[in-house]
């Protein structure tokens, strides 16, 4: 009887898990499938098997004058540069808090933690106006440079250093005559590499998906990122070629899906790490 009960509850648990997994995956799967189907077929009904209209859909997308390849390039430029800056400088800031004993260090760290709770949207108006006054609208500078001061990433980096960096290591490097910057670049950075990688993925996804800030700052369509192109495509009420729309959507998602397929374990662990210790 006990074994039966155990088996039954296991079965019920797994059924529940599978249903939820289906809910999570099917909308994305159907999107990918529909991107390969012709619009009349899509209008006729649902299918879970791919068709062979991907290229046709892709051509009609390009014929509409929304240059998704350009968007991919722009999004990549922004994502890679913000990721590099935020990871490097966040590690540097966290390293300072971890290694040096300077005045107001505690207050500084508390302040950083508090700032992780202030999302960028809150001061977007001041930011926008300020960028306009500096004559930097339609430039990537205001989208890239602020990532040097990413409070959330600093917090994560500090947690990582707390676990991975031994003070003795730094002391012995100093005795060997290494300069402070050398110690950071040659010893601390390699040590932090696994953590840096996780931080980097989150920074990358954040930049890749970000909408409001580029939406407010960029009006030149040549500078548009993929989310802006997506909203452009989506806001056209006269579009009836759904095959084309699905292809556009698939195009914006595939890079992230690939990244996730490769590193899902690290990403999932990264979320746990960022929360429990905090």
């Amino acid at each position: 009887m006990y074994v039966f009960k155990q088996r039954l509850s296991k079965f019920l648990c797994y059924s529940f898990f599978v249903i939820l997994a289906v809910i999570c995956v099917v909308p994305v799967y159907m999107l990918l499938i529909n991107s390969t189907r012709a619009t009349p077929d899509i209008n006729r009904g649902i299918s879970l098997i791919p068709s062979d209209y991907l290229l046709t859909n892709w051509q009609s997308l390009n014929a509409r004058g929304i240059n998704f390849v350009r968007g991919l390039f722009n999004s990549s430029v922004l994502a890679f540069s913000t990721t590099a800056l935020s990871v490097y400088f966040s590690l540097m800031t966290a390293y300072a808090i971890k290694v040096y004993n300077f005045k107001f260090k505690k207050q500084f760290f508390v302040f950083v933690v508090l700032m992780t709770m202030v999302p960028g949207q809150l001061y977007i108006i001041g930011f926008f106006r300020y960028v306009a006054v500096l004559n930097l609208l339609n430039s990537y500078i205001p989208l890239i440079v602020p990532s040097v001061a990413a409070a959330g990433t600093v917090f994560f980096a500090k947690q990582y250093f707390d676990a991975a960096l031994m003070p003795e290591l730094i002391q012995s490097a100093r005795i060997d005559g290494a300069s402070e910057f050398q110690i950071f670049n040659k010893i601390a950075l390699p040590l932090a590499a696994p953590g840096a990688f996780t931080m980097g993925i989150f920074a990358f996804v954040g930049s890749w998906n970000s909408f409001l800030t580029p939406f407010m700052l960029l009006t030149d369509q040549n500078l548009y990122t993929l989310p802006l192109m997506m909203s452009q495509l989506n806001s056209d009420p006269f579009i009836t070629d759904f095959g084309m729309v699905y292809t556009g959507m698939a195009f914006t998602l595939i890079p992230i899906i690939v990244v996730y397929a490769l590193f899902s374990k690290r990403i999932v662990n990264g979320i746990s790490l960022g929360s429990v210790k905090g």
Binding site: P27, V28, F89, N101, L122, V154, P227, S235, T252
Partner: protein
């Protein structure tokens, strides 16, 4: 040996380097975060417009008074909270139940890693695309309507994005869909720190699973619950992308999904570009999030004392 004594012994004190290392962060932070925050506060006290070309005059709290007298603004506050509560409740509910199952030592479930990974997937997808995706799925003749008619659930297609109730439910659903996996992962991380011995002794005393959940699990993950609550709230009050892109960019049908940030955006993109007024919306949002976060911290801390 204290840290200072250690330093003295080795004879190397490089602590001033701390300032050098935090310098890039501090400079960029002041220039691109602190200043814009202060500037937003200042703008909220002026009548600055994008189109007038002159910098605005100081008008005191006029913008806030005007907001107070704008019914659409009050609606946006109600919408923001309503959508957040509707979305967050199932999100935390599912997360707690799933995490409890995942970490339960009597069930000994395997393969939970795969489920966690699948549940988290929607969170990584571009919100602009997610909004467009659901907008496309939920059109009058779209796949969802095709499916529910085919299986006989309804006789006629549902105008999901033209009815306020359905539009709100859609935003709620998307919020749940995108976030319950992330919350589950955090809850699992919290629950795995609980010692299995606690459950074992409770089980010997004959406690049931639900009782153990309420008496052991929940009290012990309170700090993480607070973390999730505060971050979800601060993020949720900022809600913009999904409701903005799901319909016409004005939070329609009938302003039913117009959040505070959409209202803010509409102010900024109004004919004259009322950024003074838009800034005042942000300031209200700022105070609202801070006060609620402080209240939550206070509530949880007080309960910890007993």
């Amino acid at each position: 040996m204290t840290r200072a004594a250690k330093k003295k012994k080795s004879g190397i004190n490089k602590d001033y380097m701390g300032y050098v290392f935090i310098l890039p962060f501090v400079i960029v932070f002041i220039a691109f975060v602190l200043y814009p925050i202060a500037y937003t506060f200042w703008l909220s006290l002026t009548d600055t417009q994008l189109m007038s070309g002159v910098s605005g005059r100081f008008v005191g709290l006029d913008n806030f008074q005007a907001l107070y007298n704008t019914p659409a603004f009050r609606t946006s506050i109600t919408n923001t909270w309503l959508l957040w509560v509707l979305g967050f409740t199932p999100q935390i509910g599912f997360a707690l139940v799933l995490a409890y199952m995942f970490t339960n030592s009597t069930l000994k479930l395997r393969g939970t890693g795969i489920f966690k990974a699948l549940y988290y997937l929607p969170n990584l997808l571009m919100p602009a695309t997610v909004a467009a995706l659901f907008a496309t799925y939920l059109t009058r003749f779209g796949p969802v309507n095709q499916a529910i008619i085919a299986i006989g659930l309804v006789d006629d297609s549902i105008a999901f994005l033209d009815t306020p109730l359905w539009a709100r439910l859609t935003v709620t659903f998307i919020g749940w869909w995108m976030w319950f996996g992330q919350t589950t992962i955090i809850m699992v991380a919290g629950m795995t720190t609980i010692s299995p011995a606690l459950y074992e002794s409770a089980m010997l005393d004959g406690a049931s699973q639900p009782k153990m959940f309420w008496r052991i699990t929940l009290p012990l993950i309170k700090p993480i619950l607070l973390f999730v609550l505060v971050t979800a709230l601060i993020g949720g009050l900022q809600s913009f992308d999904i409701p903005f892109l799901l319909t016409n960019g004005r939070g329609d049908p009938q302003g039913s999904i117009m959040t505070m940030n959409i209202f803010m955006y509409l102010r900024r993109s109004s004919v004259m570009g009322d950024i003074g007024s838009a800034a005042s919306v942000s300031v209200v949002l700022f105070f609202m999030s801070s006060i609620v976060a402080l209240v939550l911290f206070g509530l949880f801390r007080e309960k910890d004392k007993d």
